[in-house]
Amino acid sequence: MTTTTDPHQGQFRLSMLLYDSRYRSMTIQIIALIGFLLLLGWIFSNTAQNLTDLGKEPSFRFMGEPAGYDINQRLLEYSNQDTHLRAALIGLLNTLLVAALGCITATVLGVIIGVLRLSPNWIISRLSAVYVEMFRNVPVLLWIVFIMAILIETLPSPSAFRKGEASLSLWDSVAVTNRGIYIPEPLFTNTLGNLHLFGNSSLRFDVSLDLIAILAVFIGGLLTSGLIKRRADHTQEATGTRPTTWYWRLGVVVIPTSIVLVLLGLHWGYPELKGFNFKGGTHLRNSLIALWLALSVYTAAFIAEIVRAGILAISKGQSEAAGALGLRSNRTMSLVILPQALRVIIPPLISNYLNLTKNSSLAIAVGYMDITGTLGGITMNQTGRELETVLLLMLVYLAISLTISSVMNWYNESVKLKER
């Protein structure tokens, strides 16, 4: 069938590249590509020229040289004789640590505040509104330095403990000082030792076998408990009565885990005052705490708004229908409102986790040695390799961002409404 809009089969002319809609998109794309490549080439040639002038040949060899600086808060062992690569790895783990801690506390706090903001109690809802507005309208960097100042200025120094002006809290187990917080650390008498990964390289990684054993038993217990639940479900469907299983389900988790802990000889190492400072226990430095707290309270304000919007997005008919079915209010929340609200809540929640992770780069303001502080801070200043370090830094953050968003998107897909 021929219609008037069919292209006539004429000869190809050069002007058709511009005026014929069949070719025009091609032309535009090729022009765009050429323009982009030209820009890229221009930047590359400039960079090469400038670097040659400065006498800096781009190379990543400096990553293998000794770093020469100390990192006070670290998850793996590290000394200043280790390489820049290892320093970057320590920094990366610190970034992930504060991001993970921050995401957890921000979610807990945000959900509580968001639900409280919908409370019928006038004072409570007003207080939550004040919280939200106060924290999200002031830059997070300001909150970080503010909380750091609070920690340093108001908490007692270790010498106050010596003079008896301050004392350990929580039954003499936690020391809250202006140099950080000392918490008890778990110690094992019959320890299984560590698993050394990656030999002696810069990426060497010690994994505690004790931790693996405990986690394995614990997760095994959880899986067994899940099996018991499924059997209970089957019984309920078949007979109509649900067997009481809570003690079984609790037991298979708690008892094996406790046995393993006893076998390993778990005891606690408490912080003790020695010399001018506390020794023993795990030392959480001020910088970590300030960053963690500030990121949590700041992001919690955003999460609270997301949670509130998510709950409000569920139409009133849903809770009324649940009420008509005879569900109690907490079951209405957990079985009807939350599963639907989660679909609204999760996508913006993901982007807030990403924001929190990216904001953790502000650690540099309080001296917490995350990857920005190590790779983008001291390593960059010591080696003068701005191009390489900033490039690596960006790639690391890009990788973290893409990983978080893909994991979270996968989760989002799995809870999404299955439309037919």
Binding site: I28, Q29, N46, D53, L142, M380, L398, L402
Partner: protein, 496 residues
């Protein structure tokens, strides 16, 4: 027939509700003490509020406004807890303007009227874009008042005469605006009265006025920059009829680029020779405080909006390569923290440019923050584009509009309207993020606070400075977020 009746013929007057369910008591019973849990929560929060206020208020109202150093504050307070407001009293101008010349050094003149005027003009320029509750004439009145402030600050006989003229014009226009109501005015226009020009004209000029005010130098450079746009527009108008819209657009862009790169210098120097109008030049390193934050925020948002629109269109486009480039740019920028981009600004941007290029750090920061904001802006605009019903695109196609006409006349006006709240919250985000520039050593409020604390007299002052900065940010951001909520309500046209 008796008069007796068992049916009441008139209603009894309503009884007043019991005292426990009206007034404050009733409100409190319904909202604060309905149930055990709620009562406990209420009491706990009241106690909490009491303790916070009991600690905060005496600290806040401490009589130290006039003290000249931390030690003086301590003497005044005499052992009591209290804030040392002397630091704010002494340094608030620095926190607002940074080291912008204030006439204190010998041989300098107070130039702070320039950022003030720029700030006033910002409101005048933004109002017709964002609000529609104010009439055209009121907007011109505001502009005249703002300009008369500028003329007053310049001073001199000529300045004073200008002030009088401007104020008189403002009074006349303002009087007419208040004396005629909307209907009468509409009838006048119907009968052939001239309308005042659209205030959006000033909003379009504004981006060229502000750099001139803030950085100073010859006015002709900025006039020349604006002329580039005018030339491109003229070229497009006349060429598109002759060679078609796409070729016309390419040529007009080339015309503008050639003008900016090669002809603007000769033009400016020629005009300078004829009519020298210039303001004293201020180096960017003197910018600081909230003025710097606002400058970075406003410039970044202003420039990122057009870039963001282009990127959003690129991301939505059918052209694969264009789409890939846009997605790559947006996701890259959104995937890295702003601080790494600021590192690029402080250490790498000069390396990327031809050897010998060296422009100042504030301009470099502006470029990177603008790129950062454009990626976020692109996502906001894309949200607006996605929210439009497909019928709008199809209707534009059915009318036979080409791509750009459809975007300009049908799609963009609606998509941008939907995304205004998102744009405002992006602005709030960028404005808050400007404090990050203190990490690379610029003197924004936070950077200045470190400098002030390094001063002998104020060594040890923490809360007052941080509190003041936080309060200022809160005022700016909170009012903007309220405004965005107002917009959301106003723009909700109720089709849902």
């Amino acid at each position: 027939m008796s008069d007796m009746s068992y049916v009441r013929s008139d209603m009894l007057p309503e009884r007043t509700p019991p005292a426990s369910s009206v007034g404050f008591v009733g409100w409190a019973r319904a909202n604060l003490f309905n149930g055990v849990v709620n009562s406990i929560l209420t009491i706990v929060s009241l106690v909490l509020i009491f303790f916070v206020l009991a600690a905060l208020l005496p600290w806040l109202f401490s009589p130290t406004w006039n003290s000249g150093s931390l030690n003086e504050c301590r003497e005044i307070l005499n052992g009591h807890e209290g804030a040392c407001w002397g630091v704010i009293h002494e340094r608030w101008q620095q926190l607002l303007y940074g080291f912008y010349p204030n006439g204190s050094e010998a041989g300098t003149v107070d130039q702070r009227w320039r950022p003030n005027l720029a700030f006033l003009l910002l409101f005048v320029a933004v109002i017709p874009v964002l609000f529609n509750m104010i009439s055209r004439r009121m907007n011109w009145v505001l502009l005249l008042v703002a300009l008369s402030y500028g003329a007053y600050a310049v001073g001199g006989t000529l300045g004073m005469i200008t002030v009088v003229v401007l104020l008189a014009a403002a009074v006349i226009v303002g009087y007419k605006a208040f004396s005629t109501d909307k209907a009468a005015r509409a009838a006048e226009i119907e009968a052939g009265a001239k309308r005042l020009p659209n205030p959006l004209i000033f909003s379009a000029i504004f981006p060229f006025v502000v750099p001139f005010l803030l950085w100073g130098g010859s006015i002709w450079v900025f006039v020349g920059a604006a002329l580039g746009f005018v030339l491109a527009g003229l070229a497009y108008r006349y060429l598109s009829a002759a060679v078609g819209s796409l070729a016309g657009m390419i040529i007009s862009v080339l015309v503008a680029i050639v003008w900016w790169l090669f002809l603007i210098g000769p033009f400016a120097s020629a005009m300078d020779a004829i009519l020298p109008i210039a303001l004293e030049q201020i180096e960017s390193r003197k910018f600081g405080g909230f003025m710097l934050s606002i400058t970075i925020g406003v410039v970044a948002i202003g420039i990122s909006l057009p870039i963001g629109i282009v990127l959003a269109l690129g991301r939505q486009s059918d052209l694969l390569i264009v789409k890939a480039l846009s997605v790559g740019f947006i996701e890259f920028i959104r995937g890295v923290p702003l601080i790494t981009l600021l590192f690029v600004a402080s250490t790498l941007l000069n390396i990327f440019l031809p050897p010998g290029t060296n422009f100042d750090i504030i301009l470099r920061v502006l470029i990177m923050v603008t790129l950062f904001a454009s990626a976020y802006m692109a996502e906001v605009v894309r949200g607006g584009l996605a929210a439009l019903p497909k019928g709008q695109y199809e209707a534009a196609d059915a009318l036979g509009l080409d791509y750009w006409k459809a975007q300009r006349l049908i799609i963009m006006p609606q998509a941008l309207k939907i995304s205004i709240p998102g744009i405002v919250s992006t602005f709030i985000g960028v404005f808050k993020d400007t404090v990050l520039v203190s990490i690379i050593g610029l003197l924004d409020p936070l950077g200045l606070s470190n400098a002030i604390r390094a001063d002998q007299a104020w060594n040890g002052v923490v809360w007052e400075l941080y509190g003041f900065i936080a309060f200022m940010f809160f005022v700016f951001c909170f009012s903007m977020s309220r405004y965005s909520m107002y917009l959301e309500r106003r723009l909700r046209t109720g089709h849902k």
